[in-house]
């Protein structure tokens, strides 16, 4: 097997946009738009595959938006195109993101048949009040039913997305959601703290003083509380906002944190191939126009050829997101010089973070402590 990469596919459609969501997705598109997009995507995939020959995809991630919005047949078609165009590893991790309300039995069967072996369900909360605040389209019951159906269809690698720090959310509500999720025994949990994103209804409300964000101390406490609960139940807190049962870490996501190569197809998707970072066009008209004109729809402004120094910095700050941290031995292998030689000017800062208990070392690895996570951006910014 030659070089491996992760393939990401973006489905930028939702039935309804959530009030906090700043991701690239549309909720005002008809079936025609959707079909046109899938056609363009197909064309892009075919161009991508010609460009990157000799690569094997060992992870595939269909994200969004809401990939579960598109019909069972369309997903089967998409996977089959991917398999035609790319060499997909036998044991590839193939994930799809799903919203509970569109995860029907028909789709679950289609996923299973297509070889999708990991489902990521956007629950966010198991509390109906909280779900209502977020503007989610599903409720608690809907989620539980979707989760159980996925299990019934034989999916043995399920992620549940959760969100804390939501306006009005109490510690009790969060605790209940976390413990209930644990009782479901998903293989993987992602938990994020709500961020205000410009251009979202939440952002506008906050600006106009109509929305109160929750207290910082409570937000921090929620995060640490969840980390404790997952750890106590046998999960490994392997990345800042991800926990998994042993052996179920998301291999696709780990590529992002370890200088792994990945190819993003679809609107606004990001790629990192051959030391070049770029994003696709995020304007759907430009995207389709480029693709239909026989061109890979790269947003030229985003093209960036990482220098070795860039790569070192990115390796360090992304690795710090993981529990393994910066692997100084791997660093030397990658860059041909010892970590401490490359960052001799940062020794003082690193020492300071160690002294204050934000960084720790273990067997040649440098990682954030749990307290260090609270100031992780600060520490990471030392490396850019």
């Amino acid at each position: 097997m030659g070089k491996t990469f992760g393939l990401y596919i973006h489905i930028p459609f939702c039935e309804r946009k959530c009030k906090y969501c700043g991701f690239l997705s549309f909720d005002d598109c008809g079936a025609e738009d959707l079909n046109a997009y899938l056609k363009a995507l197909e064309a892009e995939l075919s161009m991508d595959s010609r460009k990157y020959q000799g690569y094997t995809a060992d992870t595939v991630f269909i994200g969004g938006g809401t990939p579960s919005l598109i019909a069972a047949g369309q997903i089967s078609e998409l996977i089959s195109i991917i398999r035609d165009e790319f060499d997909i590893a036998e044991d590839a991790e193939i994930s799809i993101e799903a919203n509970p309300n569109s995860l029907t039995n028909e789709k679950l069967s289609a996923y299973m048949d297509a070889g999708i072996n990991r489902i990521s369900i956007g629950a966010q909360s198991l509390d109906d009040k909280v779900l209502d605040t977020l503007g989610r389209i599903h409720d608690r019951k809907c989620f539980l039913s979707a989760y159980n159906s996925a299990r019934d269809h034989g999916f043995s690698n399920i992620n549940i997305d959760l969100m804390s720090g939501i306006p009005g959310q109490t510690m009790e509500q969060w605790d209940n959601t976390v413990s209930e999720v644990i009782s479901l025994k998903p293989e993987h949990v992602s938990f994020y703290s709500l961020q205000l994103e410009e251009g979202t209804p939440f952002y506008e409300s906050y600006k106009n003083g109509e929305l109160d964000m929750i207290d910082t101390a409570l937000d921090t406490e929620m995060y640490h509380e969840a980390v404790r609960a997952f750890k106590d139940s046998g999960y490994e807190h392997y990345e800042i906002s991800n926990a998994a049962l042993p052996g179920h870490e998301c291999r696709h996501n780990l590529k992002y944190w370890s200088l792994g190569e990945y190819l993003g197809a679809g609107l606004g998707a990001s790629s990192y191939m051959n030391c070049v970072r770029y994003k696709n066009e995020d304007d759907i008209k430009h995207y389709c126009k480029a693709v239909n004109g026989g061109e890979i729809p790269v947003d030229k402004k985003s093209l960036h050829n990482d220098t070795e120094k860039d790569s070192m910095g990115i390796y360090c700050f992304t690795a710090l997101r993981t529990s393994a941290g910066i692997d100084t031995r791997r660093f030397s292998e990658l860059f041909g010089k010892p970590f401490f030689a490359a960052y001799s000017d940062k020794m003082e800062a690193i020492g300071k973070y160690m002294a204050e208990g934000s960084l720790k070392t273990d067997g040649g690895h440098i990682m954030l402590t749990e307290n260090g996570i609270d100031v992780s951006n600060d520490i990471m910014s030392e490396f850019v």
């Binding site: 992760g6 703290s193 590529k255 990001s270 990192y272 970072r277 990115i314 910014s381 030392e382």
Partner: protein, 605 residues
């Protein structure tokens, strides 16, 4: 019999900022063939980038031009450009003293303004022939006839024959050149008498050392002469004389009536101060020229290396600037908050801004400047006197008998409509109105006495803002006056940050304290903990704000591998950090030091 002097015209151009002085100078240069049109950057004489950007002239540039007049003779024009700001009044007056005449440029869309008037008075003091010119006649809003009347009414000079000019388009420039020949007197003076020359500018040249620009009033100077600075008392050997046209052109000698440059073995600009008189050491003139004074710093501020900037780099840069600017001075000081830095003295606020910008642009340095301050005179209970340039050096209140502050006489010229709001402004700034003068039916000049401390913070910005840019200000030092002044300290997280300390009038302490706290609240980023900002006088807290704590964006979704976005975010954070100063546990962006003293319409002042 014809003398060489009959064909020399020495003149300045005086104008208010934006009235088009530099553009006019450019046209004159172009018409006299000095600079080919295609080689011209806009506004040739303003040779610092900063000046070009701001559209103001700070440093003098003198140029010798050759003009063939309609009478068939070739004339030498020595165009002595003057700075256009109140901070540089003394330099202006010395430049004017080197001339026989002045071209007064008045914007025919705007009319006469306070500073035009200030400079005209300076020119009249020097007995110059004033040649008014109405500029910008190409603009639709030009009303030259009214402005002509205004000049006659306000300044009291004949403007009947004032040329109508559009410097931008070049119209009327030929008339102006002829008028210069006709109206401005030729210089006088005997080249055989002892040397008497006026230094009206000096600058540092990397190859030549200090270059003096001088007007010769009598006698002759040439290479090899030993010259004496009559006020400084120093002696130098002349290594070169010449004219600037533009670019140094060596010549054999400079004679009475001429203008040119003199180089000697002079290391610092301060050894060749503007206004000093040059004579020959062996054959001295009896009396120096009148009007010499040492430039005096009116405004002080601290300049500190920011972020990782090195102290020595800042020191080297300040030294280089000082070599070229006799009016700028500095000495080392330390601040608990900012570490090692310098206390710097300036002629005024603009001068200060210019120096700071040059540090940043020409020397690529990152510096923090503290609030500008005037010099206070402190009379202690034991009778001793102290001059305080840095508010944090104010002695304990118990040791102070009283404090005196500098008061200036301010002339504010403005359209009638804004008189009310400017009187209110002056009132709030503890101004005492001396007189209100109606210059014309619609233009007024307010004469005030105002403490300088009130002028340097944001007075000029407030004036501009309240008069929609039509108000102009001119001021000069009057005297020291006892005043009820207190030291206002700012505490961040319960600790005094000395760099924020300021001296204010008792009556304004509360308002100022509140306003500073509010502004700091805006510029200090949220921390992981609450940061109280307090203003206090002695032990007494008079204002308080709190910067709310927040959770940094750390658990955010790093979506779909968009690591470039995360990287940008981290870079921004890092850049932000570099521009922060750590005070105890509180990080303060460097903008904070100036932001709190800037005029802000919303602060109710």
């Amino acid at each position: 019999m014809d003398s060489y002097k009959d064909y020399i015209r020495n003149f300045s151009i005086i104008a208010h900022i934006d009235h088009g002085k530099s553009t006019l100078a450019d046209r004159i240069l172009e018409k006299t063939g000095v600079v080919a049109k295609r080689d011209m950057k806009e506004q040739y004489l303003d040779n610092m980038d900063l000046e070009r950007e701001r559209g103001i002239t700070i440093k003098l540039q003198t140029t010798r031009l050759s003009y063939k007049a309609k009478d068939g003779h070739e004339y030498i024009f020595n165009l002595i450009d003057t700075p256009g700001h109140v901070d540089f009044n003394y330099e202006v007056s010395r430049s004017l003293a080197a001339c026989e005449g002045a071209v007064l440029v008045v914007d025919s869309t705007q009319g006469v303004e306070a500073q035009t008037l200030g400079n005209v008075y300076l020119a009249l003091d020097e007995d110059l022939e004033i040649l008014p010119v109405l500029n910008k006649i190409d603009l639709p809003s030009a009303h030259p006839e009214e402005v002509r009347e205004e000049i006659e009414d306000i300044i009291g000079i004949d403007a009947e024959e004032a040329p109508l000019v559009s410097a931008k388009e070049g119209t009327g420039v030929d008339d102006l050149l002829e008028a210069i020949v006709e109206k401005i007197p030729a210089p006088t003076g005997d080249p055989n008498k002892p040397l008497k020359a006026l230094i009206f500018d000096s600058y540092y040249d990397n190859y030549k050392g200090v270059v003096i620009l001088a007007r010769i009033f009598s006698g002759t100077v040439k290479k090899g002469d030993t010259i004496r600075m009559m006020n400084a008392g120093t002696v130098h050997e002349v290594t070169e004389v010449g004219t600037y046209s533009p670019g140094h052109v060596q010549c054999g000698e400079l004679r009475a009536g001429e203008v040119g440059y003199i180089c000697g073995s002079i290391k610092q600009v301060r050894d060749a101060r503007v206004g000093d008189t040059i004579t020959l050491d062996a054959n001295r003139t009896k009396e120096p020229l009148k009007g010499y004074k040492k430039a005096q710093s009116m405004v002080y501020c601290g300049i500190y290396p920011a972020g990782t900037e090195k102290y020595d780099n800042v020191k080297d840069a300040l030294e280089k600037l000082q070599v070229n600017d006799a009016a700028f001075n500095f000495e080392p000081e330390t601040s608990q908050a900012l570490g090692y830095g310098f206390r710097c003295g300036f002629l005024g606020l603009l001068h200060m801004e210019v120096i700071v910008e040059r540090l940043e642009r020409e020397f690529d340095l990152e510096v923090i400047t503290t609030a500008p301050s005037v010099i206070y005179k402190v009379i202690k209970t034991d009778g001793t006197e102290l001059m305080i340039e840095n508010p944090s050096n104010l002695p304990e209140m118990t040791e102070i008998d009283h404090v005196e502050e500098p008061v200036v006489k301010a002339d504010i010229m403005l359209p009638n409509d804004y008189v009310g709001s400017i009187m209110e402004l002056c009132q709030k700034r503890r101004g005492k109105m001396l007189d209100m003068e109606y210059l014309t039916e619609t233009r007024v000049c307010l004469h005030y006495e105002i403490p300088l401390n009130e002028v340097i913070y944001d007075f000029f910005d407030a004036l501009k803002s309240k008069t929609r840019g039509y108000g102009s200000l001119d001021y000069e030092f009057l005297r020291y006056e006892p005043s009820r002044l207190v030291k206002l300290d700012i505490m961040l997280n319960k600790e005094i940050v000395d760099a924020f300390s300021m001296i204010v009038h008792e009556s304004e302490a509360y308002a100022r304290g509140r306003s500073v706290c509010e502004k700091l609240k805006e510029v200090i980023p949220m921390h992981q903990f609450e940061v109280p900002i307090q203003a206090c006088i002695g032990q007494k807290i008079i204002a308080r704000e709190t910067v709310r704590a927040y959770r940094k964006d750390v658990i955010a979704k790093c979506y779909g591998g968009d690591i470039s976005r995360k990287k940008k975010l981290l870079e921004k954070q890092k850049e932000g950090k570099k521009r922060m100063r750590q005070f105890g546990s509180v990080e303060v962006p460097q903008e904070a030091f100036t932001a709190v003293f800037k005029y802000d319409d919303s602060n109710g002042k």
